[in-house]
């Protein structure tokens, strides 16, 4: 229960805090890297976030889940650090970015579909390997959204809240990230034409 965790943290429960750290630290570092670039700076931002959680848990008003609050603290700190580094992540949607499969549609909008993946590929560890590797190559805004939605399991409204973006933008960024990753997997796993 979310409320239990908050109560436990307020009571100084080390076990509850350690469990929360175990569950979310790597996700925080992964998201921070989107903003600050290097692994060491991302680790630093994630640690600052945990300290801020311990310092601020008493004032946490529970208007969101603790997970959303955690990610919001991280993003605010990561943005501040990125700004100092002269880095800025554009979260606006590039209207001219084509769908990765656009060239495969006929003029009427039909296609022969993607190359099939074998049955064993569909639940194979290969998909996870490819996706894990290629996440880092996505444009930062798409990566931030897909990491929060599909890796860390945040709801759309929470991602919008954390990143300060509109739902439409969130959805477009998510769609582009998912479809790009699918296209990359197809290149590696799809049957040869």
């Amino acid at each position: 229960m979310v409320d239990d965790v908050v109560a436990q943290l307020r009571a100084g429960d080390d076990v509850a805090f350690t469990k929360l750290v175990a569950e979310h630290h790597k996700g925080l570092v992964r998201l921070a890297r989107t903003f600050v670039g290097s692994q060491s700076a991302a680790e630093e931002v994630a640690q600052e976030t945990w300290v801020a959680v311990l310092d601020g848990i008493g004032g946490f008003e529970e208007r969101s889940s603790i997970k959303t609050w955690l990610f919001r603290i991280l993003v605010n700190r990561a943005k501040t650090r990125a700004k100092k580094q002269g880095r800025e992540i554009p979260f606006d949607v590039q209207e001219d970015e084509a769908h990765p499969d656009e060239s495969r549609f006929s003029k009427l909008g039909f296609w022969g579909g993607p190359r099939p993946w074998t049955e064993s590929d569909m639940d194979d560890k290969r998909i996870v390997e490819i996706v894990r590797r290629e996440l880092d190559n996505l444009p930062e805004a798409q990566r931030a959204v897909v990491v929060m939605r599909d890796v860390e399991g945040l709801e759309a409204k929470d991602v919008c809240n954390v990143l300060g973006i509109q739902e439409t933008h969130q959805r477009v960024l998510l769609h582009r990230a998912r479809t790009k990753l699918r296209a990359i997997i197809e290149k590696e796993l799809g049957d040869q034409p």
């Binding site: 080390d14 805090f17 350690t18 469990k19 750290v21 175990a22 569950e23 630290h25 790597k26 996700g27 992964r30 640690q47 945990w50 300290v51 311990l54 310092d55 769908h99 499969d101 656009e102 549609f105 009427l108 909008g109 039909f110 296609w111 022969g112 579909g113 993607p114 099939p116 993946w117 569909m122 639940d123 998909i127 996870v128 490819i130 996706v131 894990r132 996440l135 897909v146 599909d150 890796v151 860390e152 399991g153 759309a156 959805r171 998510l174 769609h175 998912r178 479809t179 990753l181 699918r182 997997i185 197809e186």
Partner: protein
């Protein structure tokens, strides 16, 4: 009737419940008769499932060591 392009472009909107009743109906009708789009949707789903398996956690030892470092930072 929707096209394959509309399915490829509108899949996330469909999943997020952002399409109108008639748009949903059009996409679902298209997917029923189009094996290429069913394959495409299955691959997007497998990609999302793969993403779900990318979540990484710290081991008990790693998290305990980190919590100790965090406590020292606060002192």
């Amino acid at each position: 009737m929707s096209t394959c392009r509309r399915v490829a472009h509108g899949l996330t909107e469909l999943r997020e419940g952002e399409l109108s009743f008639f748009e949903r109906l059009g996409l679902r009708a298209h997917m029923t008769i189009c094996p290429s789009c069913r394959r495409y949707v299955g691959q997007v789903d497998a990609t999302i499932e793969g993403l779900g398996h990318c979540k990484e956690t710290l081991s008990e030892d790693e998290s305990q060591a980190l919590v100790e470092r965090l406590k020292q930072r606060r002192r």
